[in-house]
């Protein structure tokens, strides 16, 4: 079994040779913090930050080294060791795609680490929190850096575990415990797809490494489509795409930095990474798998947006928007290299502005002693300027305000979509409009209008350790989009990794019909929001609202559906099975024993104790023998 390094014909040296440090450092951090236990309480958080930053440094150095290489040579394999002899060689693949993710994860991750120092300062178990965060970073890096599907899967489940632990960080809250369990189980449904996908892959192509598959000639056929769809199922689980979206909103039970890092910036985008990484199975454009990916994306971006429109819980609102934005990415990822570029681009920018807003929301909650109901906010702008401004920057970025990050990446996706599949494209445009509405709604309800606080609320700006990350993130939210998209920089950077023509600049014309209509729709959304929530008075208790509102508030009845389709039948099935096992199978066994015992009890009555009965039995026996002998004799 030749390892990827051999296939790629290069073995990484230099910093990249040590890129496993990216995973090792935070992993060690986690281990120390978990094993060290209370002893490390004092400095635990600092260690966590240090490890995360260390990983970031390694990532940056690796990037530098890559940039120094000729573009075609930028796929660097790092062979670690034989994992499953003959099947899996554990190794890392440092290429344009993975390094971009690595930077996002370690960069944003570190910022969030720092932010958490402040945010969790009052929590007695802050050390455990940082341990989990480090664990997550390590697993996420393994996910994106692994050079084969098994390694990816290990990271994949690792982040699932980390997310489980962090959602349930406040395990003593039943709601948190339940949410964590739900997240894990729903993800497992996706993992099932990923697993089976791997079975098929291995059976068909005899390899599970990206490089190996890169070599393999993969032409469209039933099997490949099947693989594509199975991987897509996995992606849906991780990225909270329909129909596996239901866990994400509950996941907001976790501390806010978690929501920012895992359920906005990084983990939930793993699905997109998987689709892009497995691009081969989604070719050619419009192939079943790709089509389904597009549909899923579109559906989710609308669903997320609709949900976002009705949530009063600021975090759930953001969660809805996250769903929606990932929907955009998934949509983009359905359209080949160009789409990939924009998808990844949007993924990165989204990482920044969504993290920015989540942390902002966190800062707000911090100020409003953990109140999450936006109806109890209002007029906070004056109280916490930094938070507000950074938040608003993120807001402008997400609605695609011209020249801010989201503007470039999202429009890119929309245009690509319209180019290949108008229906999806225009639905995406509509989604953009909705985005405009619900995000504005959030802004107005939170920062403007009259203060609707509880009596004991004394809003105040958060400490620097929390605001500085906000500022840095917001800078990213401003500039990153232009940097990545203009001149097709990101596209050309990724092209070798995801297979696209390098000397091609993806079209980007803001003044086309789609571009303008997008802007227009967004504007409309903003205006409506202004009238409903900016100008008008916001009631402290939510009005019953129309059917549509309830529909949105109930997460489009996703949970209700799951409950009636899976949970209840499942419970019945379980009860049935247990009953069958106890009464049926075991009953049979015990029944048999009882029968023998019973017959023994009856039979021994034959032993009457009367000598004459015995004599009779002897006589009878004699007759029997005689008869038998005569019978056999004459057979």
């Amino acid at each position: 079994m030749e390892n990827p390094a051999q296939i790629l014909g290069n073995t990484a040296g230099g910093v990249i040779g040590f890129s496993w440090l990216m995973i090792a450092l935070p992993l060690v951090g986690a281990a120390i913090l978990l094993i060290g236990g209370r002893r490390t309480n004092k400095w635990g958080h600092l260690l966590g930050v240090a490890m995360s930053l260390g990983a970031f440094v390694v990532a940056v150095l690796a990037l530098v080294q890559l940039l120094g290489l000729d573009p075609e040579q930028r796929r660097q394999a790092v062979h670690l060791y034989e994992f499953i002899p003959g099947m899996v060689d554990m190794g890392l693949l440092v290429d344009q795609l993975s390094i971009s993710f690595a930077l996002l994860i370690t960069g944003v991750g570190s910022l969030i680490h720092i932010y958490s120092i402040g945010y969790m300062s009052h929590d007695p178990e802050r050390r455990r929190f940082f341990a989990y965060l480090n664990l997550f970073v390590a697993a996420m890096l393994l996910l994106v850096l692994a050079d084969n599907y098994v390694g990816l899967f290990i990271g994949w489940e690792g982040v699932g575990l980390a997310s489980y632990l962090l959602i349930g960080f406040w395990y003593f809250k039943p709601s948190a415990a339940v949410a964590a369990k739900k997240a894990f189980i729903v993800n497992r449904v996706g993992d099932f797809g990923l697993l089976v996908g791997m079975f098929v892959m291995w059976t068909t192509f005899g390899t599970l490494s990206f490089a190996g598959l890169g070599d393999a000639t993969i032409e469209q056929n039933g099997t490949v489509t099947a693989i594509g769809l199975l991987l897509l199922l996995g992606a849906c689980g991780k990225s909270a795409q329909l129909p596996l979206q239901s866990w994400l909103l509950d996941a907001m039970e976790g501390p806010t930095p978690v929501s920012a890092l895992i359920h906005a910036a990084t983990m939930v985008t793993a699905g997109v990474y998987l689709v892009v990484r497995s691009g081969a199975f989604f070719f050619p454009l419009g192939s079943t798998a790709a089509l389904v990916a597009g549909i899923v994306g579109t559906a989710t971006l609308l669903a997320g947006a609709i949900i976002g429109c009705a949530k009063d819980d600021i975090k759930k609102g953001l969660a809805g928007s996250t769903m929606s934005q990932i929907g955009y990415m998934m949509l983009g990822a359905a359209f080949g290299p160009v789409g990939y570029a924009f998808a990844i681009g949007h993924l990165i920018t989204h990482g920044f502005f969504k993290a920015d807003m989540f942390l902002g929301a966190g800062s707000v909650m911090h100020a409003m002693n953990d109140e999450v109901d936006m109806r109890k906010y209002g007029g906070l702008f004056s109280k916490m300027k930094v938070t507000a401004i950074t938040f608003i920057i993120g807001y402008l970025a997400i609605i695609g305000f011209p020249l801010l990050s989201g503007y470039f990446t999202k429009d890119g996706i929309i245009e690509t979509a319209i180019e290949h599949n108008p229906v999806m494209g225009w639905l995406a445009v509509a989604g953009a409009g909705l985005t405009g509405f619900y995000m504005s709604r959030m802004i107005f309800m939170t920062f403007f209008g009259k203060a609707r606080w509880d009596k004991d609320a004394h809003p105040h700006e958060s400490p620097a350790v929390m605001t500085v990350p906000l500022i840095i993130l917001s800078i990213g939210a401003i500039g990153l989009g232009a940097f990545l998209v203009l001149g097709g920089r990101l596209y050309q950077w990724l092209a070798p990794a995801v297979g696209g023509a390098r000397d091609f600049v993806p079209a980007f014309h803001p003044f086309s019909v789609p571009g303008l209509s997008t802007l227009a729709l967004v504007a409309v959304g903003v205006v409506i929001a202004w009238f409903k929530y900016g100008k008008a008075e916001v009631p402290v208790t939510a009005p019953r609202g129309s059917f549509l509102t309830t529909f949105a508030r109930r997460d489009l009845y996703g949970d209700a559906l799951n409950e009636s389709l899976f949970m209840r039948p499942g419970q019945w099935l379980t009860r049935l099975a247990v009953f069958f096992d106890n009464r049926g199978i075991d009953g049979l066994v015990n029944g048999l024993a009882a029968t023998i015992g019973g017959s023994s009890g009856r039979l021994r009555r034959v032993q009457t104790g009367f000598a004459r009965t015995y004599a009779l039995s002897i006589l009878f026996g004699a007759a029997l023998l005689t008869g038998a002998l005569l019978l056999v004799g004459n057979l």
Binding site: G597, G601, S617, I618, T626, L630
Partner: protein
């Protein structure tokens, strides 16, 4: 006028037998002339010496003069390999049984005295004892030895009676629970007599068919004569009744539980071990030497009997609450297993000697385990004698772990768990059965596999009640007023020790015993 030729008797070959009977007769004389207070102290050494001497003679005969190749005493007695092996086994079993008998006053002071009457009290006060038991035992042992060795049906009948009559008596001599004991004695006697009448009538019919009662002559008659003569078949059936009764095969097993329960435990031990060994030996001889030529006819029938016996024994034992009754049923089940061995004969000399040695091995190990088990039973006492009811055994494992452990080990041996002698016994028999079933041309063929499966099921059921007793002894709480465990006398320790040793050794390293059994069986029965 012609003179009657004097019969030739090979005294050397018959020496063990004659010694036993001689000692028995001397014993009677002792009863007649020795003063009461001396009798016991004379009887015991006399008996033991007699047994030891007989054993020595058997060994000497095998070692020195070798196994005779023809019947002795004018063809009346066949002292061949199997017979000698069985003799050895019986003598040793008798020896330990005698120790058991002598161990402690199991026996009534004066059988004539009515239970609970003043006579009885007086007799007990005077310390009377029925020392006749010792000669009686010797007579019975002599019968046991003659039974499987007798080479014609008449001798066999006589041996049967010589073996049984003393036992009938001894069954009635229990010191405690005398009503039960006497009842057992009565039942055993009546039924025994009844069945021996069948045996005799069967003999008569076969005599009518063959014109002789010598096994060899019968065999030749079968080889030539008509095999469907009802005279023969009916005779065979009635003969079978007599023999099956003695080994307690269903449907002739009814007497066993009652008698085993009622009789004094040492006598039960003697019956359960010695009599069974002797009877199986006789069965083997009759069915192989005399009836070997019509195995196609009797083996299917025996198939049925064996299956029925195993199942009846195992199933009925499950719900027994009296330890001795339970052991009785277990011995019924084991009789069934032995019958599998008996029918595991397709007439290839090799196959026969295999199954024959299997049975011999089985008899030996089973005999010892049985004696051991009953010896343990004698130790667990209540106010009214032995604590027979199983519930009284609850929690014995905690009160006297050693005793309970020993008993548990014997039970596991009965159940045939590996690393106990019982396992190899069972294995040998099953193997012989499947082996003979595999012989090309065997009329039963697959049916042998069938009987083995039945055997498996039976032993699975049987395992249940053995295990149940273990559970009772170890896993359940001891009763408040539990039975007392008497401190074993030296001889009792010896008995249990010997039984234990055989059960363990034969379970871990059976090879030597198997060798002896194989050598004994190699010559097969002389015809």
């Amino acid at each position: 006028m012609n003179t009657i030729p004097a019969p030739t008797i090979e005294y050397g070959t018959l020496a063990p037998l004659l010694l036993i009977f001689g000692m028995a007769v001397i014993g009677v004389l002792v009863e007649a002339f020795a003063p009461r207070y001396l009798r016991r102290s004379i009887h015991l050494p006399l008996t033991l010496v007699g047994l030891i001497g007989a054993f020595a003679l058997v060994v000497w005969q095998v070692a020195k003069t070798g196994v005779p190749t023809s019947a002795v005493a004018m063809g009346a007695v066949a002292v061949d390999g199997p017979a000698l092996f069985i003799w050895g086994v019986i003598i040793v079993l008798a020896f330990v049984s005698v120790l058991l008998i002598n161990d402690e006053d199991h026996f009534v002071a004066s059988a004539a005295a009515v239970p609970g009457s003043s006579d009885e009290e007086e007799a007990e006060r005077e310390g009377f004892a029925h020392t006749e038991i010792y000669p009686l035992v010797l007579f019975a042992v002599g019968g046991m030895m003659l039974f499987p060795a007798s080479n014609d049906l008449l001798v066999m009948f006589v041996a049967l009676e010589v073996m049984s009559l003393p036992l009938y008596l001894m069954c009635g001599l229990a010191r405690r629970r005398r009503l039960l004991s006497q009842e057992a004695s009565l039942k055993y006697f009546l039924l025994g007599a009844f069945s021996s009448a069948f045996f005799l009538y069967g003999t008569a019919l076969i005599y009518g068919y063959a014109g002789s009662v010598e096994l060899a002559k019968i065999s030749t008659a079968l080889a030539t004569g008509a095999l469907l003569d009802p005279l023969l078949l009916v005779g065979l059936a009635l003969l079978g009744v007599g023999l099956m009764f003695k080994i307690g095969a269903a449907p002739f097993q009814a007497w066993k539980p009652d008698v085993y329960q009622g009789a004094p435990t040492p006598i039960t031990a003697l019956m359960a071990s010695g009599v069974l060994v002797a009877a199986v030996g006789a069965v083997l001889r009759v069915f192989w030497v005399a009836l070997g030529n019509m195995d196609w006819d009797w083996r299917p029938v025996m198939w049925g009997v064996a299956a029925l016996t195993m199942l009846v024994g195992a199933v009925l034992a499950i719900t027994q609450t009296e330890i001795k009754r339970m052991l009785a049923y277990s011995s019924i089940a084991h009789a069934g297993f032995l019958l599998i061995g008996v029918m595991a004969t397709y007439d290839s000399a090799d196959g026969n000697s295999k199954s024959l040695s299997a049975i011999l091995f089985y008899l030996l190990v089973y005999g010892f385990t049985t004696v051991g088990a009953f010896a343990v039973v004698t130790m667990v006492r209540d106010a009214g004698g032995e604590a027979g009811h199983l519930s009284r055994w609850a929690g014995l494992g905690k009160r006297s772990p050693l005793l309970a452990g020993t008993f548990a080990f014997f039970l596991l041996a009965f159940a045939g768990i590996p690393l106990t002698s019982g396992f190899f016994g069972k294995y040998a028999v099953f193997a012989a059965a499947l082996g003979s079933g595999n012989e090309t041309g065997d009329s039963l063929g697959g049916w042998m596999a069938g009987i083995v499966v039945v055997g498996v099921i039976a032993s699975a059921i049987a395992a249940f009640f053995y295990v149940r007793v273990i559970v009772l002894m170890f896993f359940s709480e001891p009763a408040a007023d539990g039975p007392t465990v008497v401190a074993p006398s030296f001889s009792l320790q010896f008995v249990i020790g010997v039984a234990m040793a055989v059960t363990v050794i034969a379970g871990v390293f059976p090879q030597p015993i198997l060798d002896i059994a194989r050598d004994a069986a190699s010559g097969l029965f002389i015809r």
